[in-house]
């Protein structure tokens, strides 16, 4: 190995739902030198458990821990190779993960699915964030929390998600007591991968807060847990609680084994684990109060730093140090955004449209957007509710559904497409207004994620929000955000704010609201909000879902 040069580098590894990506970044300015992707061999296990071929129940979503380690083994050596960077110049590594993605492990961190006695038990595997079958358990937690007036419930907008640590753990206890009793730790994948890198288990403050109900220095009480299920009473003390680590802090140093996997020097800094959305704030250098970062893709996650503790209705959570150490971190979300556009464009745009798009050499989204752009705002006469995947914020209700009003026989596909795009922008505005009204004002809107490439969508957001929208510069926001945390953990910057200023940033060009469009959207938003308040609370959508589910059940489907 050559000796180190003057230029220092860090590596950020972003763990997504289907693959992991390593990014090699220059410490001085955040320049992205090389990246590499590895797809998980087991992808998401939703239908059957591979070891047995056993069919999984509905709403299950599992992953395989070894796939995560493979990402390290494949991608880190590859970025070193592509870049030609001397490994000795790499001073730190950090990761970010989907969350809440959680698994049962032994005292030494071995995933239970790797023990022969449990390899055929689905509950021994990683439960991915989108494993949604713990909804009944979440419902019980929420009901009990409200009946006991637990102070922490309001920190989560009034509702704990079925995706999170407690709901999934209660499901585990009640459906597979063997696995539950055998496990020593119920651990976030975000923390487990760091343990694999440095040999030390540190619970990152971000997932502990947002997903683990850690508030004001404590978890839900033994009494609360015992009321849910007497056997759950000691869940926190026996399975969950552990040393916490601030974001950007060093969890440990790279172990000999991990150095062998990656080709990096043993002993370099390994940062505390992190979450994909939250770490993007650093990549956008949007880590000051009032800067809302929206990671816009199939769904949208909103994260914002603040100095003010407030109870924002329907937020996903507020966590001290949850985004940047020393500040409060707020999170909110929209369950369906880009996937709504895809659903409509792929299923409801007729043969002619597909042919014309092909002839014009553009994809169907671009074609629909171009057509829709030719008509003035409001001229479709439509308003939609963007709840095709339910509503995360501000209603926290996944039994809601989509609606569109204003249809006529003259309504064209591009008009419905536009109305759906607008509905997601109205959904974002509802979240922003809720923050504003709760005393946590949103002063800037910074967009990241796959949708930032779509200028049509971004301009609609600017007009609907009536705010300029800046766009993250990096195309690999989460991986860059992780790299920034690695640089801080390695001591290259005094904190994440300083590192973000040097290494992160946004494009100079902004999407600026068009005042006359904004005025029309103000009118349309009143109707959106009216529909939102009515259908969000009147129970009609729940009842339609009940009728649907009953019909399907009786038909044996």
């Amino acid at each position: 190995m050559n000796s180190a040069s003057g230029t220092k580098y860090v590596i950020g590894v972003d763990y997504g739902t289907l693959s992991g990506r390593a990014l090699l970044v220059r410490v001085s300015d955040g320049a992205e030198i090389a990246s590499a992707v590895h797809e998980y061999s087991h992808q998401v296990m939703e239908d059957v458990l591979p070891s047995t071929g056993e069919k999984l129940p509905p709403d299950w979503a599992l992953q395989m821990p070894s796939d995560y380690v493979d990402v390290l083994k494949k991608t880190v050596p590859e970025v070193l190779k592509i870049s030609g960077v001397n490994p000795a110049d790499v001073i730190g590594i950090s990761t970010d993960f989907t969350a809440c993605t959680v698994l049962p492990v032994t005292e030494d961190g071995t995933p239970l699915n790797e023990l022969p006695e449990f390899r055929n038990n689905p509950h021994a595997y990683i439960k991915l964030w989108k494993h949604h079958s713990a909804q009944p358990h979440a419902d019980r937690i929420n009901e009990l929390a409200h009946s006991r007036k637990e102070k922490w419930i309001s920190r989560y907008g009034g509702k704990i998600s079925s995706e999170w640590e407690f709901a999934k753990a209660l499901q585990l206890l009640e459906e597979s007591p063997d696995v539950y009793n055998t496990m020593r730790y119920w651990i976030e994948a975000a923390d487990w991968i760091i343990w694999q890198l440095c040999g030390t288990y540190v619970r990152n403050i971000c997932t502990a807060g947002y997903k683990g109900i850690y508030q004001d220095g404590q978890y839900p009480s033994k009494d609360f847990l015992a009321t849910l299920n007497p056997k759950f009473a000691n869940f926190v003390t026996e399975k969950l609680d552990h040393t916490l680590g601030e974001l950007g802090a060093k969890a440990g140093t790279l172990s000999r084994e991990a150095a062998q996997w990656t080709g990096l020097p043993e002993g370099i800094a390994v940062a505390v684990g992190n979450v994909d959305a939250h770490v993007t704030s650093a990549a956008a250098n949007a880590v000051n109060p009032g800067q809302m970062v929206a990671i816009m893709g199939t769904s949208t996650c909103h994260v914002m730093v603040s100095d003010v503790l407030a109870e924002v209705p329907g937020m996903c959570g507020v966590v001290p140090g949850g985004i940047v150490s020393g500040k409060l971190g707020y999170e909110a979300g929209q369950s369906g955004v880009g996937d709504l556009f895809g659903w409509f464009a792929n299923n409801y745009s007729c043969g002619d449209y597909e042919d014309l798009a092909k002839a014009a050499g553009v994809d169907i989204h671009t074609y629909l957007s171009n057509l829709a752009s030719k008509s003035p705002v409001g001229s479709h006469g439509l308003v939609a509710l963007d709840w095709h995947s339910g509503n995360r914020s501000t209603l926290v209700d996944h039994r809601l559904s989509g609606l569109i009003v204003g249809l006529t026989l003259a309504t064209k596909p591009e008009e419905i497409y536009r109305a759906i795009v607008e509905s997601t922008a109205f959904g974002a505005r509802k979240i922003i207004e809720t923050f504003n009204q709760s005393g946590v004002p949103v002063k800037e809107f910074i967009a990241a994620g796959g949708l930032i490439k779509n200028r049509f969508v971004m301009q609609i957001y600017a007009d609907v929000l009536n705010m300029p929208i800046t766009v993250i510069k990096s195309a690999q926001g989460p991986a860059l955000g992780s790299a920034i945390h690695a640089a801080v953990a390695a001591g290259a910057y005094k904190d994440v704010v300083a590192a973000s200023a040097a290494m992160g940033g946004v494009e100079d060009d902004k999407f600026v609201p068009n005042p006359s469009n904004a005025a029309i959207y103000n009118e349309l938003y009143l109707h959106y909000n009216n529909l939102y308040e009515r259908f969000g609370h009147d129970g009609m959508m729940h009842d339609l879902r009940r009728i649907r589910d009953t019909a399907l059940m009786q038909a044996g489907k």
Copy 2:
């Protein structure tokens, strides 16, 4: 010409929106011997006036009187020729028309557009039923009628339509006083064509009542008309009022000129004019109280005879003798039915669906219906409002629009298609329930029109209405209905009821409700009705339309 045989025949001529059809029918049993169609050369003039190329304003729809005469000249000789029937055996002729389709004529019945001085004036032409630009005039009539508590307004469900005689006449007066002042009669096309056949102007009681506000032996008062516009004060006495004729009565005998056009014997009976929907009751032999006939096509018209005078909210009208002489005739309607199915199937069913339908050798409607049929009722989780063309009954509001609720990312085109079909069935149920609640019970539901061929649609209607549905036997309901009226006018039967029993009828097979489907539709209907009452009255759809129209106007579109 040969001498007459023992077998007698009549001819019914059905004037539709785009063409006219003659049907030669045997008097003894209604057997349909021959039919012929002629398309209007000028079709519907909606964009430009052919004589000048002048662009017509939005919502205009004109027709050409000579096209109607051409139908007689082409189709009647053709049915005689095809059938080989001896013209001497034809004892009468009758017609039915779209309504309210109305034109300005001179003292001798010459259409004003045929005078050289008016041929370049759009107002001199026939205003087709779907000429909708007199809405502001209709609004003024309705407002004034309610403020003066005019008794007649409740006979029309509380609203006069922009399609009808008074609104269109007021528009004519105010936009083209020359034409207004020159015309001697403002005449229904239904009556004008009879005038051409027999040389006598008789106002049929059906359009006089439903479209001409003739109630309790009088029209709206001079005082009422003068309040609308002082120059409109004498509209009834100077332009409208004329001898009335009962349905099935003889208006006169075939003139020498019309005999030459048609090849029929001079002097045979010509029946009083009639309307396409109303005349269909006779063809279905459904002319007794409680038998609701639904003519289901692009839109649906509901007609029913009754002994009881009641104020049914949102009905189109109740007219003594309006369907059958001596009985009250009720009319209601749905603005959009088959055209909603077409709108969705043609614009929102993707390339794959078109290809698969083609591969299966069926049209897109059949393909979507077959797919939708495979899933149980209610399993789509959707409810729609069928107001894409507005709502005729019970809300009488063409500024309403369509809505769909319950959409998810799993929602498929065939599910939306089915929800749209169901929404029109719910709309029909709402009309039936309104009649039932108003003391005019609907005891039978008899379907006619183009949609009766669609078994999928008919079964959904049976399940939603929870009533057996019988289907008219004739595929040419209106033309057969006209022929029945011709037979009565010729004296072959004592009245329309007797002639209908002999010449009209329904198929033996019925569509019978499936009880478990009906139970689920009862649940879904509650949601439909809830949406109906909310969006029918809360003004949101009006405001979306205002925003739309303003946006289009400002863009100069």
